[in-house]
């Protein structure tokens, strides 16, 4: 039983004696009363010998816990196609109405995601987002996940509405920038099941033909590296 519990016990006992009005603070003896004016320094002195909890943000940035709910990310498949299909289930799940999505049809010339549909407009308003993660649970393709990035402040309201290009995951090594066709012979189900693991020759050739300057093409990457 701690000291404060004692106090409450005392109080409860005193409740029955309504005619006596005494202080609720614990009463000390003569020694206690003598040291009372400097007793507060004890707290300070005690903390001199404890480890420091202050973080030196922003000079020194500590990583958040692995499952920290930070900024969202729109993921990609291994060949660079976007996972988002523009289904708006995230927007539907959002309790703060922070997500706005507009979908569109994939065409032969512009295939952004596997299947028929992709998210043309994708906005998350970080002035509204409460980082509850319901959108992540709703996402049927695992396109939307949360990163550990927590630095989400800004001087303007417009700047805190993140667009699709701000949210899309960066291209990893070997990925090819969308739009480009799906791996020949596959359907969207193969992508969902994880059967597509890398960019194939046909996709690279398609991009080479349509966007020869694309920096994610192998030859352009080598040039970049050579320059660098």
């Amino acid at each position: 039983m701690s000291e404060s519990d004692d106090v409450w016990k005392v109080n409860r006992e005193r409740d029955g004696e309504a005619q006596r009005f005494e202080s609720n603070f614990p009463q000390y003896g003569p020694v206690g009363r003598a040291f009372a004016p400097v007793a507060g320094f004890g707290v300070t002195l005690r903390n001199f010998f404890r480890p420091t909890v202050t973080e030196q943000y922003p000079d020194k940035k500590t990583p958040a816990m692995p499952r920290y709910h930070g900024r969202h990310q729109l993921n990609r498949y291994a060949d660079g196609l976007e996972k988002c299909i523009g289904c708006e289930l995230c927007a539907w799940a959002c309790p703060a109405d922070a997500i706005y999505v507009e979908a569109d049809s994939n065409t032969e010339d512009k295939q952004y995601s596997p299947g028929e549909r992709y998210g043309r407009v994708y906005q998350i308003n970080y002035l509204r987002c409460i980082f509850c993660g319901l959108c992540i649970e709703a996402c049927p393709t695992r396109a939307l996940t949360m990163t550990n990035e927590y630095e989400l402040a800004g001087p303007t309201r417009e700047g805190l509405i993140y667009e699709k290009q701000d949210l899309l995951a960066p291209l990893e090594d070997g990925m090819l920038q969308a739009p480009h066709p799906m791996v020949p012979g596959t359907v969207d189900d193969d992508y969902y099941k994880g059967d597509v693991t890398k960019v194939v020759k046909e996709q690279t050739e398609w991009v080479r033909e349509h966007r020869p300057e694309d920096p994610t093409l192998p030859e352009n990457q080598k040039q970049e590296a050579g320059r660098g």
Partner: protein
Amino acid sequence: MTSTADTATSEAVETVTLTIDGTEVTVPKGTLIIRAAEQVGIDIPRFCDHPLLAPAGACRQCLVDVAAPDREGNVRAFPKPQASCTMQAMDGMIVNTQHTSDDAKRAQEGVMELLLINHPLDCPVCDKGGECPLQNQALSHGRPESRFIDVKRVFEKPLALSSEILLDRERCVLCQRCTRFSKEIAGDAFIDLQNRGAMQQIGTFNEEVLNFDGYEPIGVAAEDESGKAFSSYYSGNTVQICPVGALTSAAYRFRSRPFDLVSAPGISEHDSSGAAIRTDHRRGKILRRLSDNDPVVNEEWITDKDRFAFAWQNLSDRLTRPLVRGEDGELHEASWPAAIARAAEGLRAAAGRTGTAADKKAKGVGVLPGGRITLEDAYAYQKFARVALGTNDIDTRTRISSDEEQAFLGAAVAGTGLGVTFSDLEKAPAVLLAGFEPEDEGGVVFLRLRKSWGTQQVLTVAPFLSRGAEKLSATLIETVPGAEAAALAAIKAGTETADALGQDGAVIVLGERLAGSPGALSEALRLAKRTGARLAWIPRRAGERGALEAGALPGLLPGGRDAASASARQAVADAWGVDGLPETDGRDADAIIAAAAARQLDALVVGGVTPSDLTADLRKALDRVGFVVSLEVRRTEVAQYADVVLPVAPPSEKPGTFVNWEGRLRGFATAIRTDAISDHRALDFLARELGVDLKVGTVSDVNEQLAALGAAGKGERVKAPTAKAAKASAGASDELVLASWHLLVDEGALQDGEPYLAGTGRTAVARLSQATAERIGVKDGVVTVSGERRSSIELPVVITPMADGVVWLPAKSPGSWVAQELGVEPGARVSVKGGI
């Protein structure tokens, strides 16, 4: 002026009493079990069942346990669950649905499981997701777990049935709602079930396209049952009734989710039927329109034009701020007060109301509101013309019109309240159509006539049997355009046709094109009198009937009063609190345009008028007239000539009333709130600036005045026309009589910006009879038609069984803008040359 519902008939109905889930219910004999259950609030899941379609029992989702009395009267249970959507209720029947019977519940869950076996479950990418009966009922009546782990059946998708309608066969549950709609309601059978078992699918026949008959759509299209390219004006309804996402529209494909949309009820602005629609919008932008359920008007069906043609109002040329022509001759954005002041200044001078010596030289103002305005707008335009401008020169009829027509409308249509209704049309034993193509010019009118197919005799006075008339199994009374009067006069007592029209409830339907045929409307009145048939006048544009009621015609005052009658003028003047109304006869639209071109008018006030719709040269008139005020939604061609352009609201952004051809008031509220204002409000501002308070600022102001005015009294009406048919004049040998009407889907101004809909419109062809084609010598299957203007129309020829000496052209289809290119109306003589 009108009542809101048809009167119900109170005949004794034979009833049966049955028990559903322990609740006793009495229903009329012949009621299906599923409907009887609805009456006591018991929900049975279903896909194929639709109240307006014949029962099919295709999906088996509505299985219930049924016990019925046998011959001895012992109630005996059926050995297996029965489909409640096909079984009629019987006296003493005991029905146990999934709520009380485990057998029924198990049966329904089994059916749902079977339906879902081959369903792709791609709800996240499906347009129906969120409003899908399959999705909803799979959750409410299906098993929580799926046991199916094998490979699903796959089809190529999506399959374009037309440029607008897309088919995804994987999602289809074979309920046959679409095929039944197409066959029973629209009469455009185009898809049907194919194959058997697991491979059964909705599909199209893959045969060679049969002989092209000129009804081919512009865009891509699958073949219909006969192997012809599928072309229907009502196909959008199949998207709406599809209980899964198998049929979707290209225009709405992947555009939004139901929870994004704000829905508002409305009335279609596309034709005079006043079909109830639902407008779904997101962030101030209309994304789709659906049919609303209005049993007395459009039931649950609308045309594809009503459904898909809404992009016009949000195109890049939409006006949001007033424009005023500056010193440099260019239009500049201006504030409302500045624009109103400038417009008032110009109109004051033109109307001779400046109070200076210049007033004597003022030649007046003509007002052309166009036929697409609401009742309130029409009322404001005519009051503005008569009170603020002091003229009767106002005409909404920017189409074929005549003085005879005005007399007919004044005598037989305006201020007569609810006349022939949709339900009268459906019940009529015989219907005579004159100058009216039900499918192209009527929209949902066609569906009502088609509903009575087999029990109703349809006769059509036309140069040939159009496909719409063919689908009604109509009898053709072959008539050369312009000779309709003679054709109607030839229906003498004793003839079969006259006998048909003499039946109780027979209806004569007159189209707006009849105005171009001298004597035809007078003859129609005589025919109606002779046979006892009722008359219905069905114009094309949504505002035409409202304009009659409001008096926005030169010779008509509100309520069908004759502007030439002194007592009628006095009655209206008293109601308006003015000294008197202008007495000079007003000019009709053609005369106003001619007067403006001849500089006999100083100013024009123009509403929603498209110059290319008119045979008269509106551009020349606008160019020559001194001052033009345009009230428009978009920056149109008229704006090029206008001195002041006032932006007004499209129907979805304002409240108002359309009066449909029945005379039924079809009021609608604002669907999307913007700061756009109605024509009547803009005219109210303008009149105030001119020093007149018209009191037409709000819809309720106008409706109060219309209610106070009421319909014309005895002696205030226009006298019925008694014109005689004109003698046919023989033309040159290479001249043919022009027949023409607007196809439902064409290049009208309200169909701009919707390529998918335009793709379902029919290609433009010229139609000639075999004999006529041989006479003029058609080469390479192409003819060149030229009229009064220098330009001509060149179109491929389709030989059609039709009247000789006639050439038919679509009025405003791609490559065939008859009014603009030829400058003549149907019935005129045009020169036709075969090929080059």
